[in-house]
Symmetry: C2
Subunit: 400 residues, 2 copies
């Protein structure tokens, strides 16, 4: 279905003018960044070693979907901007704190076009900066009490506490799969992971907090939570699709992408489920091996080269391989190569796994549309309801 | 002054029977650990990969001074156990979460007699487990509302938010000193660091939370906060003294101790301030070099050995040294050796730095006594006031 076409079952006529999603987003983002700057504040000698680093990720180029969704939900329900803005800013701060720690946990090198925080300042400082961002997020939620009343303020605090728990569980699940080398996973496992790891903090909690700040009833809150859950799954599958498709164009230019990292995606799991036993064995062997840019792998490659050119004898080669394996907590495996990763991508295409991923994403996007339409049918139209509609339209056309 | 002797200026007679500090501590610890188990709870597949790991540090052998201090403060002021127990457990959980992340940041290998969490499970899982412990700590503080009322519950939340901010600032300051190689530091720098890095979460916040849970007035809260601040400084200097003295007996048995790590202590800073320029230059050069068990240093030593025994030629040696330095983000420096660290300890003894440390600790312990006496003079005696007294007595005799 074309995203601009009126949707069957929708009681509303299509918007006469195309909604300017980017303009709504950038206006929300400006307000949220001002609020984040105020939350982080300034404290003399601690600015360059702590507080300025907390602003690094939030100030990098980003759409700011999460806080905009939180604010749009509240205001679509008739809530005031002041009732939701501090909480929206806190959610954005949490999001960025999780990114700082996730980047350490996933050994990521680049975030939003620049080196990750731990690449720039080392793991110790990045762990601490993430902790600082998490710890700053509490006070603005306490300050909500005079603005929105005690009951809603406490419910928002509880929603954020629950969000943290879900996020940490999602991260634990993925780290466990990586450690165990678990690949025998179905789509329900993928959905459980994605909803926990990113769904709760990216979409579900922003919507729930928006509802609470607006004083919405329980049915509205749960209905919109289901909408947000469906969006989060569609959105993550699309992210993974865009990542794989980006791979197609990167002819040896740079190393990146989920296949190098061995990330569990709908597409990769589909390919592993449907390919032959031999292909599966080959793929699992490849996926167990490190990225060439992983710590240890660069050194391992150098050690192999020195041995090959006669600078290092056999005994020394064995001793260094063993020491490197111990230092990186794994076995000494040769890193993945570019042709191998291209062959894995070819396997995904042969199995129709990208098309399968597009189908699954579209199913969840349609689910999101249905849930949102039910909400919009009984909600007065406004720029905020039109943002929610435009967000879903964007999700429908994002990875086609 | 002997710790059991009556203190000048104290209006009370000495306790007729010696107070059993360990018994009070272990009883408090049992209650707190039950509470922590209830907070962490159980959640099927997430237990072995997340929730059981959160209990690892809390269940290791420890005195449990922090929660006992929190509970004793509340109950000395007439507050009920139920009013303070959940908050005391939360503080203990935070303490352990900070330890998990600090151990990563300081690259510590051992904690309470066993390998650190990141040594056992890797940095990614340890970062996430620490985040999980921090995120679990919010809900019990929200559940305080029906038990102690809204106002005190919000004030405890605020106290905990402030504690986190101080702790993260302290950690940022120390990491900055390490990164800058800053050694030109006075005792006021040391006090600022210690109060922020451990004082707020170990002593000041437990006491403040105990006061709030008991409904104490502002003067009592501030007076006891000053007491806790003085205890925290005395306590940390004593920790550092015990660490240095432990070094004396460890003839090559195991690698450990603050001198190996280059930790900024009152004693080391004193020696650097008072020694000759030559000694200072020698010491600063030594302190800039890594521990032999640091990541990279073990590999560097192996590379040197392989070169010495002819397994690795000169070109290969140079290439590997350069690659190792890049991987560890530093320059390739030879690790500290046992005789060099012993020579540094001898410098501290020659300069009278250990005696100086003992004096400074005793000054802060005396300050703590004065503050506590003022409180005890107007507080009915109970097993809880006797615990506070015994705690200060313990601090007086701890590192003599």
């Amino acid at each position: 279905m074309h995203p601009d076409a009126p949707r069957a079952g929708s009681p509303r006529a299509p918007a006469p003018v195309r909604f300017d999603l980017d303009r709504y987003l950038s206006s929300a983002r400006r307000a949220v960044l001002d609020e984040i700057r105020a939350i982080v504040g300034s404290k003399g000698r601690y600015d360059p070693i702590l507080y300025q680093l907390m602003l690094d990720y939030p100030l990098r180029e980003a759409k700011g979907l999460r806080p905009a969704l939180c604010m749009a939900t509240c205001r679509a329900l008739g809530g005031r901007l002041e009732a939701v803005l501090p909480s929206a800013a806190v959610l954005e701060l949490y999001h960025n704190a999780f990114l700082v720690h996730d980047d350490i946990e996933d050994a990521s090198l680049v975030r939003r076009g620049a080196p990750t925080l731990h690449e720039q300042h080392g793991v110790p400082i990045a762990v601490n900066v993430g902790d600082g961002m998490l710890s700053l997020a509490l006070q603005p939620l306490l300050d909500n009490v005079p603005e929105i009343g005690l009951g809603p303020a406490l419910r928002i605090l509880q929603a954020v506490a629950h969000m943290c728990r879900e996020t940490v569980e999602g991260q634990a699940l993925e780290l466990d799969w990586v450690r165990q080398g678990a690949w025998d996973l179905g789509e329900e496992d993928y959905v459980e992971l994605v909803v926990k790891k990113t769904g709760w903090y990216s979409f579900i909690t922003p919507v729930r907090v928006g509802c609470i700040a607006a004083g919405a009833d329980e049915a509205t809150l749960e209905g919109l939570s289901d909408f947000a859950r469906a969006v989060s799954i569609a959105f993550q599958i699309q992210d993974d699709l865009l990542n794989l498709e980006g791979e197609l164009d990167a002819y040896g230019k740079e190393i990146g992408g989920d296949l190098w990292e061995g990330k569990r995606t709908v597409m990769l799991l589909h390919a592993l489920r449907t390919c032959s036993d031999d292909e599966r064995a080959w793929a699992l062997d490849l996926l167990a091996r490190p990225r060439p840019d992983a710590e240890g792998a660069r050194l391992g490659t150098l050690v192999d080269e020195l041995h090959a050119r006669g600078s290092l004898d056999a005994a020394g080669h064995a001793a260094l391989q063993e020491a490197l394996a111990r230092a990186t907590g794994g076995v000494a495996l040769a890193p993945k190569t570019e042709p191998e990763v291209r062959a894995l991508l070819a396997l995904l295409e042969r199995q129709g796994s990208l098309a399968h991923g597009r189908e699954v994403a579209e199913r969840w996007a349609a689910e999101a549309s249905t849930r949102l339409d039910a909400f919009l049918a009984r909600t007065p139209a406004s720029v905020h309801t039109r943002f929610l509609q435009a967000l879903v339209d964007y999700v429908h056309r994002r990875a086609r």
